[in-house]
Amino acid sequence: MDILIFLTLLGVGYFIGNRRERKHYEDIKRREKSTLHIPIMSWGAKQDLPYAHEAELFVGSVVVANDYFKTISAALRNLVGGRVTVYETLIDRGRREAMLRMKESAIEWGASQVLNVRFETSNIAGQGQSGAGAVEIMAYGTGIR
């Protein structure tokens, strides 16, 4: 009985999780193409920033949840060590989505460029025994116009 529940959860995690991931990547790639015209630039501390009439902080943040299949894969990976490839896509999606949200809000405001973008990542939920968790990724930068 326990093994049946386990396999069901694993199946749900794999099929639904995979499907959502695919859809999300399609969406990300489409939106990245449409926001490509706004450059993201980073400047050093002592460099002069480009001239701007107005500047504003833009924040894009996203919380991506783990699925059961990934949890089990990662738990097994924990035993043998090595790259946790199943989490790579999770983090990658999170970073790109956060960046897109920030960029999209900057475009809406009318930004010509976004300067000095930074990322922050934090774990939320699932710190205990359950293992199933989520990751929050936040991207912020200064939009100028």
């Binding site: 490509l36 043998v80 790579e88 990658d92």
Partner: protein, 277 residues
């Protein structure tokens, strides 16, 4: 500098591995390691069971004793225990001298049963003592358990737990304590033997009976009575308990009688009475 937007097409941050392939590889690796460990432990346990020294066995026996009987009513004093001890001592063979000294206890338990654990601790229940009619029966039961002890069946029946128990007794000298999860809890159900081991112990006991009494009559009576109980549903539960530690069939008795006939042992003789208590 003019900014020309260019699409990034290569995914450097995502390893191109199918999640199922990755999962399969991980599961395979872990399963293979698990099987290797299981088989390795089995081999190690078999080696330890045949080679363990008397001192280490005594220490293993103490752990098992604590785990099994720390809360049971164990009788260690009194005339019955004295009688049992002297009877068991008279049954010792020369080969038994190489093994840890057997010790006899009475367990306050209405279900007739007898068992032996590593270290040579032999338990006889009060239920069994009440059921016994002649000394021959009792001697046979004791000799049977001594047979298990001498053949190291008690150690073998611990199986893979034995590896951790002996490791524990070895490390305890250095003050290292293994987590209790590893040493495991031994239960009575673990103390079962294969048909072959039972038969060996039976033949061993029967040989002692022939030597001591000059015949094997009455020795198997207790076993025969137990098979008759099988028809009586009222004691079915007791029997399940008994059979979990002593698988007993008609064929087992027949087999023993065939051996007795082959070796020319006397099948008829006078019973030896139990002492008055």
């Amino acid at each position: 500098m003019k900014y020309t937007p260019r699409e990034i097409v290569d995914e450097v941050n995502v390893t191109p591995v199918h999640p199922l392939v990755n999962f399969g590889y991980l599961l395979g690796t872990v399963a293979a390691a698990g099987i290797a460990l299981y088989v390795g432990l089995g081999v190690a346990a078999a080696q330890i069971a045949t080679r363990i020294g008397p001192n280490a066995e005594v220490r293993v026996g103490e752990v098992v004793f604590e785990g099994l009987f720390s809360e049971a009513d164990v009788i260690q004093e009194g005339s019955q225990v004295k009688y049992l001890r002297s009877l068991a001592e008279s049954l010792h063979t020369d080969a038994l001298a190489q093994r840890p000294e057997p010790q006899i206890y009475i367990l306050d338990e209405p279900i007739p049963n007898a068992m032996v654990i590593p270290g040579g601790h032999i338990f006889v229940t009060t239920g069994l003592l009440a059921d016994i009619e002649t000394e021959n029966e009792l001697a046979f039961v004791l000799a049977h358990e001594l047979g298990h002890h001498e053949n190291r069946d008690t150690l073998r029946s611990l199986g893979r737990t034995l590896v951790f128990l002996s490791l524990n007794s070895f490390l305890a000298i250095g003050g290292v304590q293994l987590p209790p999860m590893l040493t495991g809890s031994v239960s009575l159900a673990d103390l079962h033997y294969s048909r072959d081991q039972e038969q060996k112990a039976d033949v061993y006991a029967l040989e002692i009976m022939q030597e001591r009494y000059g015949h094997i009559d009455y020795s198997l009576d207790f076993f025969e009575r137990l098979t008759e109980y099988e028809l009586d549903l009222g004691v079915a539960n007791q029997l399940i308990e008994w059979q979990s530690t002593h698988p007993l069939t008609e064929s087992r008795i027949e087999h023993l009688e065939a051996i007795a006939v082959r070796r020319g042992w006397a099948l008829e003789g006078e019973p030896t009475a139990l002492p008055d208590q």
